[in-house]
Symmetry: C2
Amino acid sequence: MNKSVVIVGAGLAGCLLAVYLARAGWTVDLRERRGDSRARGHAAGRSINLAISARGLKALRRAGLEETILRNAIRMPGRMIHSRAGAQEFQQYSRDPNHAIQSVSRSALNLALLEAAAAEKNVGITFHQRCVEVAAASGTVIFIDDSTQQPSSVVADLIVGADGAYSAMRGIMQKNEGFDYSQEWLSHGYKEMQIQPVTSGAHTPFAMNPNALHIWPRGASMMIALPNPDGSFTCTLFWPHSGSGSFTEISGAANGRAHFQRDYADALPFMPTFDADFDANPVGSMLTVRCNPWSQGGRVVLLGDAAHAIVPFFGQGANASFEDCESLTDALAAHGDNIAAAISAYELDRKRNADAIAEMALTNFVEMRDKTASRAFKWKKKLEHFLHGVAPKFFIPRYDMVSFSTIPYADALQKSHKQDGIRSRLVIFFLCCISVGLWAALSNHQSSIFVYTCIFVGLFISFMWSATRNK
Amino acid sequence: MNKSVVIVGAGLAGCLLAVYLARAGWTVDLRERRGDSRARGHAAGRSINLAISARGLKALRRAGLEETILRNAIRMPGRMIHSRAGAQEFQQYSRDPNHAIQSVSRSALNLALLEAAAAEKNVGITFHQRCVEVAAASGTVIFIDDSTQQPSSVVADLIVGADGAYSAMRGIMQKNEGFDYSQEWLSHGYKEMQIQPVTSGAHTPFAMNPNALHIWPRGASMMIALPNPDGSFTCTLFWPHSGSGSFTEISGAANGRAHFQRDYADALPFMPTFDADFDANPVGSMLTVRCNPWSQGGRVVLLGDAAHAIVPFFGQGANASFEDCESLTDALAAHGDNIAAAISAYELDRKRNADAIAEMALTNFVEMRDKTASRAFKWKKKLEHFLHGVAPKFFIPRYDMVSFSTIPYADALQKSHKQDGIRSRLVIFFLCCISVGLWAALSNHQSSIFVYTCIFVGLFISFMWSATRNK
């Protein structure tokens, strides 16, 4: 066995895949369009963080990196909801208080993965390599070195496009007949802001509880904040691009500050760099990319954001990409010399799951920015946790399935639809029970209770039966 | 008024728009990636034809070209359905026998439009011009001359991308944030074949009735044929790319011939070049392209297939593109100096109609290849024509609205959904009436007839009411 792979893109997924495949005996040629991030050391300036949960940790564990990453991670076992008045309310994510998502620095994670890849003796890494052409039939990729403008050509048994949401590899494949593709932009943009560490006289550098993902839900918009080890929080504003309450409408630090006074007043005192951040930081856009097939000629294959860019609202982008790496590695191991068959198995496994998490990530935006603030949402979550306690295998809340399990995303989506039906029917059932109980108590018709109980048990069974069948 | 426009693409839509805008006083710079088709004269070899209907004729009339085009067109007032056994059945498209779609040569149509554009004194046409860059802010387009490799740069008030389904202009716009885009390929491909003119002893050179669009509906696949003035027919096979009955399965002239013996036996005798055609002609692919917005910076705008490539099954591709030209011209006239406002008005008018015809074109494939062969379809059409006769304004069959009217596509789609409901309810109503009539006649309950009639009239009214409300 002496197989070679070219991986285009040394981001999170590209590096992890390089580690996996190198350890499985592959000769790995890892090419990155940008420069070497190791030269810059840990990213200076603003910290950008992301949430890693069960799926990501499992994949990192497999590469022996879980401990390294968790050393600088901050546990977030729940959401902290900030009201306009400044009240904070903690909502635990799971019934189990040990379940937490982890806030980690994106650049530190990428650096750890790049160093792990570089430490493998059969991994070669080259930077400033822009992918310009792919010939699936011959397994050839052509790169141009952006510092020297020299082209180079590589031939490999397997070619992986792990070059992110704006993938050059996918752009090339898009010209193929039969390549279905869609890019859909969100009407909301984002802007990053900073909450600074507290410097004077406090016992902690954190201006707010660090063990939570902070959310300021404001209906059509929201701000979130994730903690960093240095005591700062990275905040992200999610506002519409245009229209009422948009980045277009609220432009310039003065307008931004006025808007913050109204909607995010409790955060403003901890943002000494507000004016500079608001004016200098760009408004980013978010998109969902779907394509099919993910491969070409049984030799070229897309992975991670290149295959399925998703919006960030379930914190699953990196997690999903890491699962791709595991799936492709396992498929290649299972199919031995037949790379085309391995790619087919990988696509069959991952495409449906990528579609499911893309859908759930879009749905979760509405939940975060709007529903988390409502009393109904709180009771819904409490009921879900209760049901999960009563029947831990039968009923698992969607958030738990996505963040604290490795149940395939598509199965989680389907199961949660089914559970939604059950939950709604249970609520109706209990309301009926209470009405009957009240009626019986008030009217002294003690003898009728048995009859009505029978009727409602019958109703309950048929409700549950229809719930499990219809969804 | 001295405004300038660059039109990228001298295809059907690009040329027609050039004529319209030149006559409205614009200076038109028309650039085409291919060579000058006038140099080749009328296309030799295979004739490719397309169907022009009311919308296209209206647009051509406006340019004074209707008569020229109709001179070499062949009327097709209906479909001719060919059974496996070789039986032919004519289905008139409209209740009105004067309604016909027109089979015209694509290359002749393009040539006539190109000549009309060239005849305008403020139109300049340049060939071999590949569009490589667009800067909306400055109104600059950069082309590379494919024969000399020299770049050239043009500045204009308005830039129109009319460069077809694989539009280079759209490819450039796709990289913009906020540009939603999807390309969806059909699982069926197509291959063109020829039915040759009859040469010996016949009074007509046509092997079949020339005044019909011939269809061989075979469930999952089909063949169609459109007449050419020289007595030949251009046939198009629509088969799946892969799987049962696909181009992959039936490859090579010998297999093709065996398949034809079974499915298209009556056409085979008129195809003396069958083996050569089947082996030499490529299998094409078809796609639907949707994007939004169609414009950038109030100055760059897409039109025709570049904005909305559709599958060919309603024969509306060219017709829809010609309507785009009319709409953009009208919007520019209405908004005077405000080009950005004109572009907005054009998009508002055309985007919803493009989406509607894209959907109807996909639906019509199933109708053509599968339903046209069924008895139920025939009766459905007869009922539609009857209803159209009874209430010509209230009930207009979808085919009539799309092909023989200029009702906006989106309105036609919505109205036809509503009508489907009415038609289904009418069928149920008449079946009920017949049952009641039979029951009354058989049981001699003469006195009850009045009661039941009242009930059914009530049912009828509520049916009709719900039909008009729900869709």
